[in-house]
C-alpha cells in the first residue's frame, strides 16, 4: 500500500467504495474499529485491520455484532472516535447498541452496506430500519453516499456530526457503491475540516454531566478524566442519576430528539439538479440518484422539464426541501430500490402540495436510465 503508515492518504486514487470509507474514517480521526464478518462490508474490516495498527488505533474483531457495537460505545466513552461496519442483517443486532448510544449520547459511526435479505445483491431496503430500528425514541442521522468520493466525504462528515451532536450517525451504503471502484481524490490534511467533541471546561465538582448547551448537547469528558459519570440507558436526570420521573423522562427525550431536529439547517443536506423550472421531480438517495440524473437529462433532451432532488441526508427527512420541490412540481416521484419505503415519507411531506408517484424496483438491481425515463414520460402524459 502506498503511503503506508500515513493517516491521510492525500492524492488521487482509483479505489473501492468500502476502502474509501476506511480512508474517510482515518482522515476524520477514527482510532477504534470493531466489526464482525459480513458480506458486502468485509473490505472495510480487512482494510481497518491493516490500517488501524499503522496509525496507533485499535482493531477488534468482535464475536458478533453486539460485541462490535458495544465495544464502540465503550471505546468512544474512553475518548476514541469509533466506527463499525456491517450489512443489513448485521445491523439488526446493532440496533441494541445504537439505542444505548442514543440514550447515553455517545458519538459513534456505523456503516450499513445494504444487501438483500440473505444475499448480497443491491438494495435500499434498510432505509426504514435505519430510522425505526432501535427501541425507544430517537432521531438518527443517516447519510447516503452515491459514489466512491462521497463514501469518503460523507464518512468524514458522519464523524463530525456524531462528535458535534454526541449521537450515532449511520452511513447508509449499498452493495452497488461499496463494491465499485471509482476515482477518489483525498485532499491535503489541512483542507479537511474536523470536528471534535466538546469537553467540559469546568472541574468535576461543578460539572452537571447531562446539562446541555444551546445546541442541546452536553460536553463529554473521557472516562478517567475524573468526572465519575453514570452513563446509563435508563432515564437519567441532568446529574446522571437514574430516576424514574415522568418529567425527567420527557425532558431527556425531548432534548435527545430535539438536538437533532432543531439543528436541521446544520444536519440536513440535499443537492438540487435541474430543479429551477422542473415540473416532474425525482426524489432519490444513494446509488439511485445516478440513473435519476441521466434520466432527467434525457427527459430534458426530449423537452420534458424533469429535475432531481438528491437526499444527502436521508434522516432526518429533508422536509423543507422536499416541500419546496412539491410547491413547484406537478408530480414528485420517489425512485427507490426496494418495495417503496421512503416514498411514504415523500408522500407525507408532499400531501396537499403535489401529486406523488413511486418508481420502485426490488430485483437486486439498480434502476436503468431508461426505466426511470419511461416513468418520467408516463408521468408527463
Amino acid at each position: 500500500m502506498k503511503n503506508k503508515n500515513k493517516r491521510i492518504m492525500t492524492g488521487t486514487h482509483f479505489m473501492l467504495g468500502n476502502f474509501a470509507i476506511v480512508e474517510g474514517a482515518l482522515a476524520a480521526g477514527c482510532d477504534f474499529f470493531a466489526g464482525y464478518p459480513i458480506t458486502p462490508a468485509n473490505e472495510i474490516s480487512e482494510r481497518m485491520a491493516e490500517r488501524m495498527p499503522q496509525v496507533g488505533g485499535s482493531f477488534l474483531q468482535g464475536e458478533d455484532e453486539l460485541c462490535s457495537v458495544f465495544a464502540l460505545t465503550g471505546a468512544a466513552l474512553a475518548g476514541a472516535k469509533a466506527m463499525t461496519a456491517t450489512a443489513s442483517a448485521g445491523y439488526n443486532y446493532m440496533q441494541e447498541g445504537i439505542g444505548y448510544a442514543v440514550a447515553s449520547e455517545i458519538p459513534l459511526v456505523i456503516v450499513d452496506v445494504q444487501r438483500c435479505r440473505g444475499e448480497n445483491f443491491a438494495t435500499q431496503s434498510d432505509v426504514m430500519q435505519m430510522r425505526w430500528g432501535a427501541s425507544g425514541d430517537h432521531e438518527l442521522i443517516v447519510l447516503a453516499p452515491a459514489s466512491v468520493q462521497e463514501s469518503f466525504d460523507y464518512t468524514i462528515r458522519a464523524f463530525n456530526l456524531s462528535e458535534k451532536y454526541r449521537t450515532p450517525v449511520v452511513i447508509l451504503s449499498e452493495t452497488t457503491i461499496a463494491l465499485m471502484r471509482e476515482k477518489l481524490v483525498i485532499p491535503e490534511p489541512e483542507e479537511i475540516q474536523i470536528v471534535n467533541r466538546r469537553k467540559p471546561e469546568i472541574p468535576p465538582e461543578k460539572f452537571v454531566p447531562f446539562r446541555a448547551d444551546r445546541n442541546g448537547v452536553p460536553p463529554l469528558p473521557d472516562l478517567g478524566d475524573g468526572y465519575r459519570i453514570i452513563h446509563s440507558l435508563n432515564p437519567h436526570d441532568e446529574y446522571g442519576g437514574i430516576a424514574w420521573d415522568p418529567d425527567v423522562f420527557e425532558n431527556l427525550y425531548d432534548r435527545i430528539t430535539g438536538k437533532v431536529l432543531t439543528n436541521y439547517n446544520d444536519i440536513v443536506q440535499t443537492e438540487r439538479y435541474y430543479l429551477d423550472d422542473a415540473k416532474i421531480i425525482l426524489v432519490a438517495y444513494g446509488s439511485e440518484t445516478r440513473p435519476c440524473l441521466s434520466a432527467a437529462r434525457l427527459a430534458r433532451e426530449n423537452g420534458i422539464k424533469a429535475g432531481v432532488l438528491k437526499l444527502v441526508t436521508v434522516w432526518p427527512v429533508a422536509e423543507r426541501e422536499i416541500r419546496q420541490a412539491a410547491e413547484q412540481a406537478e408530480i414528485v416521484l420517489t425512485v427507490e430500490m426496494n418495495v417503496g419505503k421512503f416514498a411514504r415519507e415523500v408522500e407525507r411531506v408532499c400531501c396537499g402540495y403535489a401529486r406523488t408517484g413511486r418508481v420502485t424496483k426490488n430485483r437486486g438491481l439498480v434502476h436503468t436510465t431508461n426505466e426511470i425515463y419511461k416513468a418520467i414520460e408516463e408521468a408527463s402524459n
Binding site: 488501524m52 495498527p53 485499535s58 453486539l66
Partner: protein
Amino acid sequence: MKQNPLRRYLRKDCLPHFFCPGCGAAQVLNYFVRAADQVQLDFDKLVAIGGVGCAARIPVYLDAEVLHGVHGRTLPWATGIKLHNPDLKVVIFAGDGDAAAIGGNHLIQSARRNLDVTMIVVNNLNFGMTGGQAAPTTPQHMKTTTTPYGNAEKPFDICQLAITAGATFVSRWSPAKPLRAIKAIKNALQHVGFSLVEIICQCPTNFGRKALSTGDPVKNLDWIKESSVTVKKAAELSTEEKAKRFVLGDFLQITEPVFTGSSVITSQGGA
C-alpha cells in the same frame, strides 16, 4: 454520628440502596469497597460496569465512572474501553443472567482473549429483578416462577466455564465466607488478565420464597452454607454428589499475555 470510612467510595445521596433486605448483591457491594480500599484503588481511573439486573445496580452506587443498563453487554463495553485506554481499571458486576445467559458468549470470548478486567459474578441462581425466573445457573429440580414443576435443565458451572475458556484468575465464594470473598476480590483486582470471582448469593425475595420456601435471608444463607463444599472436600466426593454442591475456592491464578486488539503489529513480524 460517625460515618463508616468506606462511605467515601459511594456516591453522595445514593442511599438507601434499592436492594431487598438480606440481598446478597448488597453484600457484594460491601465486599468490593473493602477490597478496593485494601488495594487503594484510584476511583478516578475506575470504570465500574453493570448490565441489567439486581447485581448490575451495584456500580451505580460507586463514586467511579459507571456504565449501566444494557443486558449482557458488559464485556464488550469493557473491551472497547481497555483497548482504547489500557490504564483504566475496569470492574464488571454481572448477575448470572448477564454473565451466563444473554452475555454467555461474551464471557467465553473475553476469557479466551484474557481481557484485562475483573468480573464479579453475583450468582443468585435466578433472574431476581424480573421476578424469580429460572436462569442457566438454577440448580436442577428447583422451583422458580418459570419452573413450577422443578427446573428440568442442568445448571452452568460459571467458574469451570471461565477456566476452560482461558480466564487466568478464577475464584468462587459466598456471603457465608465473607472474608474469603473479600480476599478473592482483592486478589482479582491486583491480577493482570481476565479475573472472575463468582459469589453464590442469596435472593430471599425470589429464589428463596420459590425454591427454598422461605424468604428469610438467614435461612437462605444457611442453605447456601450447607450446600457448599471447599475444593479440597469436593475432591473426595463422587461426580454425582459434587454436582449438587457449590464448590468454593480459589481455583486458578496464572500469568498470560493480555488482549490488546485483534490486529496488532508485533516485533515478531506483521506489517
